[in-house]
Amino acid sequence: MSFSTTLYNTFFRRNSIFVGTVFAGAFAFGIGFDTGATAFFDRWNRGKQWKDIRHKYVEAAEEEE
């Protein structure tokens, strides 16, 4: 049995499984997209965000005290 036939029989034959797969895939896609976009944003703005430079100022404030 070829790959396409297996694919059809597994996911596409019953509409309930088809729709369920689509919704589950949308859920996973949303999480993956958010994670990927956040990772890209952090990498693109590396060294500019507060969480990247926080240790400098927090340590300095403690030393002043």
């Binding site: 070829s2 396409s4 036939t5 694919l7 059809y8 996911f11 596409f12 088809f18 729709v19 797969t21 689509v22 919704f23 895939g25 949308a26 896609f29 949303g30 997209f33």
Partner: protein, 278 residues
């Protein structure tokens, strides 16, 4: 091929003129002239008179002494609605219409074609569902409080500044919040109480996140007075307005109050030793 100028030494008279009667006169025109004997042979033999030319007795152009004359000796009757049409330009009917060959465009494998079609449909549905979900959640986010409002709505307390066995009252969203650093004996007392038989049964474990820190709204659940700390019959709080007594876990034990003192949302910041209310 260099023509520097064009000169005419002789001007020829036009070869066609019009008689006063309106008939064109071309005295030297030879109507019997034939095309040269097929200088470019493309298969129809020697050029001659057209096969469908009208016979002489119908009429035609002839040379007369006064010039060209066109005469018809036959008058055809016009076609009537009942007469058959002998001339038409419609396409001839063919016996077997030729069907084009579509085999080049047909899919090689029906199974993979079907799977691919459903895959594309499913992928489009997946992306559409993601877009719809994102649209709805982003719209609902516009209704929630923004980050600056949320930041103002929180209160931070240095836990190290509160010694054991002391109360601190802080203002949070216009309301007093009691923070009690309980001693071990107070914790034991709060935990050993038979809370199942109280008016508002709640165990001490349900009311605190850390046993030594009791955080609750300082508003009497009866009519909204602010209870007094470290007083009352049960070693907790006492409301002076109508005499409600609360124990060391903030549970109502005596008096008109219907409910225990309310617990706000709070969390501990262990890294900085702070309590964040809100």
């Amino acid at each position: 091929m260099a023509f520097n100028g064009l000169k005419k030494a002789v001007t020829l008279s036009p070869c066609v003129r019009t008689l006063p009667s309106g008939v064109p006169a071309a005295p030297l025109l030879n109507l019997a002239a034939r095309a040269p004997a097929d200088p470019h042979d493309h298969g129809h033999g020697v050029a001659g008179p057209r096969s469908d030319s009208t016979p002489r007795w119908v009429g035609g152009v002839s040379r007369t002494a006064s010039g060209l004359a066109s005469k018809s000796y036959v008058t055809l009757s016009p076609t009537t609605p009942l007469s058959a049409r002998f001339l038409h330009t419609s396409v001839a009917v063919k016996d077997a219409p030729q069907v084009p060959d579509f085999s080049h465009y047909r899919a090689n494998d029906n199974d993979s074609n079907r799977a691919f079609s459903y895959f594309m449909v499913g992928t489009f549905g997946l992306v559409s569902a993601s877009v719809a979900k994102s649209t709805v959640t982003e719209f609902l986010k516009t209704m929630s409080a923004s980050a600056d409002v949320l930041a103002l709505a929180k209160v931070e307390i240095e836990l190290a500044s509160i010694p054991e066995g002391k109360n601190v009252i802080v203002k949070w969203r216009g309301k007093p919040v009691f923070v009690r650093h309980r001693t071990q004996s107070e914790v034991d007392e709060a935990r050993e109480t038979k809370w199942e038989s109280l008016r508002d049964p709640e165990s001490d474990e349900q009311r605190v996140k850390k046993p030594e820190w009791l955080v609750m709204l300082g508003i009497c659940t009866h009519l909204g007075c602010v209870p007094i700390g470290e007083s009352g019959d049960f070693g907790g709080w006492f409301c002076p307005c109508h005499g409600s007594h609360y124990d060391i876990s903030g549970r109502v034990r005596k008096g008109p109050a219907p409910l225990n003192l309310e617990i706000p949302a709070y969390e501990f910041n262990d890294a900085e030793g702070k309590l964040v209310i809100g």
